[in-house]
Amino acid sequence: MSAWTRDEMMTVAAARLLWDDCVCFVGIGLPSAACNLARLTHAPDVVLVYESGTLGTRPDVLPLSIGDGELADTAACVVPLPEVFAFYLQGGRVDVGFLGAAQIDRFGNLNSTVIGDYAQPSTRLPGAGGAPEIATHARQTFVLMKASPRSFVERLDFRTSAGFLGGDGERARSGAPGGGPQAVITDFGLLRPMPGSQELQLVALFEGVDVAEAKAAVGWPLAVADTLERLPPPTETELTALRQLQARTAEAHRRPVRLPG
């Protein structure tokens, strides 16, 4: 088994946070890889829900889009999108929601809308999608983002999705039913909210990373937990399962499609 990459470790670290039977609202990219890795290793009965309305999917290869046919083919059922959001997400049926973004602040609030001013943005990002309500309703959310001072920022250009708002219980007072961002998985380690203030603090590091590197990657003065966990590197089982999944995926996506008509 060759050495692991930071991307692989992020996926593995996220997968380890899931438990068997947990119901995950999954986004495309790293979250999708992490959830399916969990399913293929320690959590065979994890329930994957994609916003395309596919409930309980067990894809053999990772989808490129949130609505690939593979997701429908392997789902327990497919429901209209308004129902996924109203009956399942808002209905309080989701344990874990995965989120990513262009920017995150120290309270886990996220921006995926614009860089610059909303009316005159320097960079127009894709926008909210399912994020604001995933952030509101999932019992907890996990954020997956590579860190840099440009993405882990002192101040968001736009708040698309609520983390802990200003901290100190402001989220709970706002009436949000879900528990908010309980873990931020980056390419150096793991942040979790501090009890009380709810500010994100460094709680765990990947192998080969030190606190100085973590602090340099974050655009605010990063708090560090008293006891810092060292995350074990990917096991051979994890790495094999992940790489096979990615190899199957690459091969499937390399196959040319037959043009219709």
Binding site: I66, P80, R124, E133, H253
Partner: protein
């Protein structure tokens, strides 16, 4: 009475006019690309485009200057990155300024559902702690008359025309959809007129008591248009061309490359059949 069967050119000319509010729905699956291309060919202008995920189809319409306004909830190239034509319109008003009516998926789903039910607004526990309501006057609050709770409200979406693509229609005009449906049904029933392009017209739909069916009396016109969802897909007919979605990133990044592509593949060809034939010839 049967729902009329029209050619795609006839259907777009009859139902979509300059200034129309039009929704081409289908979530990743069954995106009506052929219809979008035909609107470009017909030179429609000042459209109010409505779609949860603009996808490449609206990137193309926006880049070709067909749109004045966009109602949407996620404007990326799924699994790839940005929609560069959408970005260019918002960031640089090229080729024309684009007004945004921006929502979350949950908000837009509620707006379509309200539209289908002919309610003036949709209700959700949504937009909590976000800056969207401050930037969109079409996101408001309403108070529960029983509990006093404050909830988010969005105005109903009732497009002038919704265009869908589906696997099949029968000769009367009943349409059946198989697989991921997104907000197609709600967008269809919310619209004043509904045009459906289909892979196939059959004598009888496959029997499926609880299948997703749009009955013929809510369908304004059926268009037989095989491959009409390409490069998205029609479950059971053909797969999503993920490689094309990846190639689109480079095509759309550059204004000139984009325009050249559109001229070669859309404006310079008579219809969707010719487009697919050209792609096949190139691939051979």
């Amino acid at each position: 009475m049967k729902t009329p069967r029209l050619s795609l050119a006839e259907a777009m000319a009859e139902f979509v006019h300059d200034g129309s509010c039009v929704a081409l729905e289908g979530f990743t699956h069954l995106i009506p690309f052929a219809a979008g291309h035909e609107l470009i060919r017909q030179g429609r202008r000042n459209l109010h485009l409505v779609r949860m995920t603009p996808d490449l189809v609206y990137d193309q319409l926006i880049g070709m200057g067909c749109a004045r306004r966009l109602t949407f909830s996620w404007g990326g190239n799924p699994g790839v990155g940005s929609l560069h034509r959408l970005r260019d319109a918002v960031e640089h008003a090229w080729p024309a300024p684009l007004e945004l009516d921006e929502h979350s998926h949950a908000g837009m789903a509620a707006a379509y559902t309200a539209g289908a039910a002919k309610l003036p607004f949709g209700l959700l526990r949504g937009y909590l702690g976000t800056d969207l309501p401050a930037n969109n006057p079409r996101i408001r609050r309403v108070e529960c008359p029983f509990t006093g709770e404050s909830l988010a409200a969005v105005p109903a979406l009732n497009p002038d025309v919704t265009v869908l693509h589906a696997q099949r229609a029968d000769r009367k005009g009943n349409v059946s959809i198989h697989g991921i449906v997104g907000a197609q049904r709600e967008a269809a029933l919310a619209a004043k007129k509904l045009v459906v392009t289909v892979e196939d017209v059959v004598d009888e739909l496959p029997p499926a008591m609880n299948a997703v069916v749009l009955p013929h009396w809510v369908v304004s016109a059926v268009v037989h248009c095989p491959g009409g969802a390409y490069p998205s897909y029609a479950h059971g007919c053909y797969e999503r061309d993920n490689a094309f979605y990846q190639r689109w990133d480079a095509i759309a990044r550059d204004r000139a490359a984009f325009q050249a592509w559109m001229h070669e593949h859309v404006l310079g060809l008579p219809d969707h059949g010719a487009y697919l034939a050209r792609l096949k010839a190139k691939a051979a």
